[in-house]
C-alpha cells in the first residue's frame, strides 16, 4: 500500500469519528416484480438448479439483477440478450418441464416489460441527491461489474454528476478522503470498512427498496471497551409487510451471480477447444478485474505469481541481510488455496498462458528442445495409456507398478503438459513401467529434473523483472483500475498483465489443459 502521511491519517480518523450517513431508497415495481419472478423460478427448480442449462440461465438472470441493482444503468440494459436466453429455455423445456413453464413465462413476460423501459431510477435518484445536497465533487462507489463502463459514460453526460469520480471498494483502502461518497446498492454488499471507517464525512447509500439492507454498525471485539454507536443514519422504513415465506425479492442468493459461472465457463472452454484437446485437468475459475477471468490449475503443487499489496514491504536498507528487494514480499508465488480477492494475478496476455516456459527454455539454451522432446515422449505415452483404458483403471495399474500417489486427479496432472513431473521417483518409475519406457526411466527423470530446475530459475527471474516494474508503478491507479500491463522482454511477446482477483470460485472443474492460465474476457450478459 502507498505510504500514509500523518495528515492523511488525521483526515481518515476525522471522517471515522465524525460522519453522517443517509440512505435513499428507490421503488420500481417492474423490476421488483421481475426479481420476485426469478426468485420463484429458482425456488421451483429446486435441485434441478444443478443442471448445466438451468445454471446458465440462472447465472444470466442473477447477473442482470446484480448489475441493475448495484449500478445506475437503465432497466433495459442488456435485456435483449437475456430475453433471448429466457425464450430459448422456454422453448426447450415446455415439454420436458411443463410444471416450470408458468414460472419461466412469468420471468419472460416481466423481462419483456423491462426491455421496453429505458428508465434509470437509480440515476434519477443520484441526480436528485446531487441537486438537493449540492454534491459537486465526490465519489460514486460501485461494485465491480460490466455496468461500470456504462455508468462512466452516463455520468459524463449529466452536468450535476460530471464532477463525480467512480471508485471501487479497493480504492477506499488507499490514503485520502473524499468530500462525500455515494454507494449504490445495499450497504451489506460492500466490505464493512466502507461504512465503519468511511473515507468521507458524508456517506449516502442509494438503492432499491429491496433486497433489504441488513447493514448495522458492528462491534469487532467481543470484549470491546466502548460499544460501537451508530452514526447519524437515516434508514427509511419502506412500510412493507413482512415476508410470506415464499421466495421473494429479498432472496439473498439472487446476488450470488458467480455461483454458476464455473460450469458455464467450463463448457465454453470445451466448446472453444473442440475435440482436438481432450487433455482435461482440474482447475479453479478466478474472476478478475476488467471483466476478465482465468482458469488456474487446481493441483496443489501449482504456484502462480501474485502481486499482493497487503504484504509487508521490506527494508531496502538491509539487502546485505539477504532481503533481495524492498518490495520482495509483495511479489510472491502462491498456491491456489492462498489466492484471495484483492491480490493481483500475473498472467500472460499474449501467446499461450504459460509465461514461465519461454523463459525456462532460454535458460536451458540448446538443450531445451531435446529435453522438451523427451518430456513429450513419456507424457504422450501416458496420455495414450489413459485413452486406452480410463483414468481409474490406469491409476490402479500404476499403484500395482509401485506408484505411491496414483489417483485420477494425479494421473490427470502428470499427463498434463503444464505439470513437469511427479514429485516422487516411485510414481515416475511406475509411469515408465506402465508405458514401456522403463529402460529410459533414469534418463527421462534427469531431463524432467533439469526442466523443473529451469522453471524454478525462470520463476525467480520473472519475479525480479516484475519487482523492477512494480517499483515505478502508480499503486493508486492500480487499485482503481484493477489491472496493470507489463512489458517483460524475456517473455515472448512481452505482454504480461497483473489482474486483480475479484472472486475465487472454490470448486474445481475439468477444463482443457490448454485453457489454463489464459485470461479471457467474460461475456455474461
Amino acid at each position: 500500500m502507498p505510504h500514509t502521511t500523518f495528515d492523511e491519517a488525521a483526515d481518515i480518523y476525522r471522517c471515522a469519528a465524525d460522519h453522517a450517513q443517509e440512505s435513499i431508497t428507490v421503488e420500481n415495481l417492474a423490476l421488483r416484480s421481475f426479481t420476485r419472478a426469478v426468485a420463484r423460478l429458482q425456488w421451483q427448480l429446486g435441485e434441478q438448479t444443478a443442471e448445466d442449462e438451468w445454471q446458465k440461465l440462472l447465472s444470466s438472470l442473477r447477473r442482470y439483477l446484480f448489475s441493475v441493482r448495484t449500478a445506475p444503468v437503465p432497466l433495459n440494459w442488456s435485456t435483449e440478450v437475456l430475453l433471448e436466453t429466457v425464450q430459448v429455455h422456454a422453448r426447450w423445456y415446455q415439454y420436458s418441464y411443463p410444471q416450470l413453464l408458468p414460472y419461466l413465462e412469468a420471468v419472460r413476460n416481466r423481462l419483456i416489460s423491462l426491455a421496453q423501459m429505458p428508465d434509470n431510477p437509480l440515476l434519477i435518484a443520484l441526480q436528485d441527491l446531487a441537486r438537493t445536497h449540492s454534491l459537486a465533487h465526490g465519489a460514486l462507489l460501485l461494485k465491480s461489474g460490466p455496468g461500470v463502463a456504462t455508468v462512466r459514460q452516463l455520468l459524463g453526460q449529466i452536468p450535476e454528476l460530471a464532477g463525480w469520480s467512480i471508485v471501487n471498494e479497493y480504492s477506499l483502502r488507499l490514503p485520502g478522503c473524499y468530500d462525500f461518497i455515494v454507494a449504490v446498492g445495499p450497504r451489506d454488499r460492500f466490505p464493512g470498512y466502507v461504512f465503519s471507517s468511511p473515507r468521507a464525512p458524508h456517506l449516502y447509500s442509494v438503492r432499491y427498496k429491496w433486497p433489504k439492507d441488513h447493514w448495522t454498525p458492528q462491534q469487532a471485539f467481543i470484549g470491546s471497551l466502548a460499544p460501537v454507536t451508530a452514526s447519524a443514519s437515516l434508514e427509511p422504513d419502506d412500510g412493507e409487510p413482512q415476508g410470506t415465506g415464499l421466495p421473494d425479492e429479498d432472496d439473498a442468493s439472487l446476488d450470488d451471480w458467480a455461483q454458476y459461472l464455473g460450469p458455464v465457463y467450463a463448457r465454453q472452454a470445451h466448446r472453444e477447444t473442440g475435440s482436438e484437446d481432450a487433455d482435461d485437468t482440474g482447475a479453479y475459475l478466478v474472476l478478475l478485474a476488467d471483466d476478465h477471468a482465468v482458469w488456474i490449475d487446481a493441483d496443489s503443487d501449482t504456484k502462480v505469481l501474485v502481486l499482493d499489496l497487503d504484504e509487508d514491504v521490506g527494508d531496502s536498507a538491509n539487502e546485505e541481510e539477504g532481503q533481495e528487494h524492498e518490495l520482495a514480499g509483495q511479489v510472491a508465488r502462491r498456491s491456489p488455496d492462498q489466492l484471495r480477492p484483492g491480490m493481483f494475478l500475473l498472467l500472460r496476455t499474449s501467446g499461450g498462458g504459460d509465461y514461465i516456459s519461454p523463459v525456462a527454455d532460454r535458460l536451458l539454451g540448446q538443450q531445451a528442445q531435446s529435453l522438451r522432446a523427451m518430456q513429450e515422449e513419456w507424457k504422450g505415452a501416458l496420455r495414450s495409456a489413459a485413452r486406452a483404458s480410463d483414468l481409474t483403471t490406469l491409476s490402479i495399474e500404476l499403484l500395482y507398478s509401485g506408484s505411491k500417489r496414483a489417483n485420477e486427479m494425479n494421473v490427470r496432472n502428470w499427463k498434463s503438459p503444464r505439470n513437469i513431473k511427479p514429485r516422487d521417483y516411485a510414481d515416475f518409475l511406475a509411469i515408465m513401467k506402465q508405458t514401456g519406457l522403463e529402460a529410459k526411466a533414469q534418463e527421462y527423470w534427469h531431463a524432467a529434473s533439469q526442466i523443473d530446475a529451469a522453471h524454478r530459475r525462470a520463476g525467480h527471474r520473472l519475479r525480479k523483472l516484475l519487482l523492477k516494474q512494480v517499483e515505478g508503478t502508480d499503486l493508486t491507479a492500480l487499485m482503481q483500475s484493477g489491472r496493470l500491463d507489463f512489458h517483460v522482454p524475456d517473455v515472448d511477446g512481452g505482454g504480461l498483465t497483473a489482474f486483480r482477483i475479484e472472486h475465487f470460485v472454490a470448486e474445481a472443474f475439468l477444463v482443457p489443459a490448454s485453457r489454463i492460465g489464459r485470461p479471457f474476457v467474460r461475456r455474461e450478459r
Binding site: H3, T4, P341
Partner: protein
C-alpha cells in the same frame, strides 16, 4: 579510569539508581501521574500542529502498558483503527517514554550482571559511558576487587586501558551485535551522539542521555519495515519549551496560547529518537525497540537482544502469521479495518479472549476512546 555516573552504594554491593532527570516540560512526580508532554506534528502546510485526539489516545494507551514486569499476568490489547498508519509508532513511543521513567530494578541489574559474568571469555562487548563514548572490547573474565565481583573489558593492545566494570554498570554493557563480530583486539572509542532536542524535550535531559547509553528491548513491532521507517524516522514531530517554566502545557488547545508566546522554542525530532528502533540505528548504538517483518527473520535479528516483553503486531497479517512465535510476551494487536485480513484477525482475537481471559483483570484508565477506534484489553488466566 571510567566514571560511574549513577552509582550509589547500596545493599548488593552497589545499588543502581537513576537520578531524577532534568525535565523541562514534564511534570515532576511519580511516573504514573506524569502528564504527557505536548506533542506536535508537521502538517502539510508546514506548521507545527498539536497531535489530534486519536494520536494522543494511542500515545496514552502506550503509557498504560508500561507495567510489564515479571509476575504480571500476560495481557492482550486489541485496537481496531480506521488506518493503522502511525498507530504502532505512537503506542511504542508512549510505552517506551513511560518505561524510561521506571528504572531497572535491582534484581534486573544483578541478573544482567550475572548473565555477563557467565559469558565465554573473548565475547565481544560494548560499554557505553552516558553522554560520552562507546567502547568496544572483549570480555576477559570476572575478577574480585575488594570482595566485589567485576567484569573485565579487555584491550589486548593496551592492557593498561582494560576496565573493571561493577555490577551497577551492567546496564551499560551490551553484547556486540552480529554486525560488530569483527571487534578489534583493542578498545575502540566512538563518541555517543547527543540526544535530539525532541528526545530531551519529551523525556528530559538525563533520561534522553540514559536512553542513548542503555540498551533494553522494551517492545518488538512485527510489521511493514519500510512503512515504519517512514513513520518513526522520517516524519517530523516536535515538542515545545517555554524558558523559565517547568509547568506542563496542556496537550491540546495550547496552540493559541503558544502562538502568543514569542519566547517559545520548538524542539523538533523524530519518534525514533525516543523509541530507538535497533534496525534503524547505527550498529552498536543503544536500542529500546526493534521491528521485524512478518517473516522468519525475527529470531535471527533478536538473538542478542533477548525476548521482548511486549510485541506489537502492526496489522492483521503480522498477527495471523507471527502470533505463535510470541506467546510469552504481552500482545498489542493493531488491526486496520480496511485490511483484507481484518475479519480473520478479529476472529482470532475474540477466540483468544473467550479461551484465556482471566475472570478478574485490571482495568486500563483510558482517556475517552475516539470514535472509530475500538479497544479490547484483558489479562490471561493461565
Amino acid at each position: 579510569m571510567f566514571e560511574v555516573f549513577f552509582g550509589v552504594q547500596c545493599g548488593c554491593r552497589e545499588e543502581w539508581r537513576r537520578p531524577h532527570g532534568n525535565l523541562p516540560l514534564a511534570c515532576t512526580g511519580p511516573a504514573e501521574t506524569m502528564t504527557q508532554p505536548p506533542l506536535y506534528y508537521k502538517s502539510r502546510d508546514d506548521c507545527w500542529t498539536a497531535l489530534p485526539a486519536w494520536a494522543t489516545f494511542l500515545f496514552h494507551l502506550g503509557t498504560l502498558l508500561s507495567d510489564t514486569g515479571a509476575g504480571q499476568p500476560r495481557y492482550v490489547l486489541g485496537v481496531a483503527v480506521p488506518a493503522k498508519a502511525y498507530a504502532a509508532a505512537l503506542l511504542s513511543t508512549g510505552l517506551i517514554s513511560s518505561r524510561l521513567r521506571s528504572p531497572l530494578s535491582d534484581a534486573e541489574v544483578v541478573a544482567r550482571f550475572e548473565r555477563l559474568c557467565a559469558l565465554p571469555v573473548g565475547t565481544p562487548l560494548i560499554y557505553r559511558q552516558v553522554g560520552k563514548v562507546r567502547l568496544k572490547g572483549v570480555f576477559a573474565g570476572v575478577e574480585t576487587v575488594d570482595g566485589e565481583d567485576r567484569i573485565r573489558l579487555s584491550d589486548a593492545r593496551n592492557p593498561a586501558s582494560s576496565r573493571l566494570l561493577r555490577c551497577s554498570l551492567a546496564p551499560y554493557v551490551d553484547l556486540a551485535p552480529p554486525q560488530m563480530a569483527q571487534v578489534p583486539t583493542r578498545q575502540v572509542r566512538t563518541k555517543i551522539s547527543a540526544p535530539s532536542e525532541f528526545a530531551v524535550g519529551v523525556l528530559g535531559t538525563e533520561e534522553a542521555r540514559y536512553a542513548g547509553a542503555v540498551s533494553r528491548l522494551e517492545c518488538l513491532t512485527v510489521g511493514a519495515v519500510a512503512r515504519y521507517w517512514e513513520e518513526v524516522a522520517q516524519a517530523e514531530f516536535a515538542t515545545v519549551a517555554l524558558p523559565g517554566t517547568g509547568a506542563c502545557l496542556p496537550m491540546s488547545g495550547c496552540e493559541p496560547e503558544l502562538a502568543a508566546r514569542e519566547d517559545r522554542i520548538w524542539l523538533p525530532g523524530t519518534l525514533q529518537s525516543i523509541i530507538r528502533v535497533s534496525r534503524y540505528l547505527p550498529v552498536g548504538e543503544a536500542y529500546r525497540s526493534e521491528i521485524v517483518a512478518s517473516t522468519n527473520e525475527a529470531k535471527a535479528r533478536l538473538r542478542h537482544m533477548g525476548k521482548p516483553p511486549v510485541v506489537i503486531f502492526d496489522g492483521a497479517l503480522s498477527f495471523l502469521r507471527m502470533r505463535e512465535a510470541w506467546r510469552e510476551s504481552h500482545w498489542v494487536v493493531i488491526l486496520d479495518r480496511t485490511e483484507r485480513d481484518f475479519d480473520d484477525a478479529v476472529a482470532v482475537v475474540n477466540k483468544e479472549y473467550m479461551k484465556y481471559r482471566a475472570a478478574k483483570s485490571r482495568t486500563l484508565s483510558l482517556q475517552a476512546i475516539p470514535r472509530g477506534v475500538e479497544v479490547v484489553f484483558y489479562e490471561e488466566s493461565r
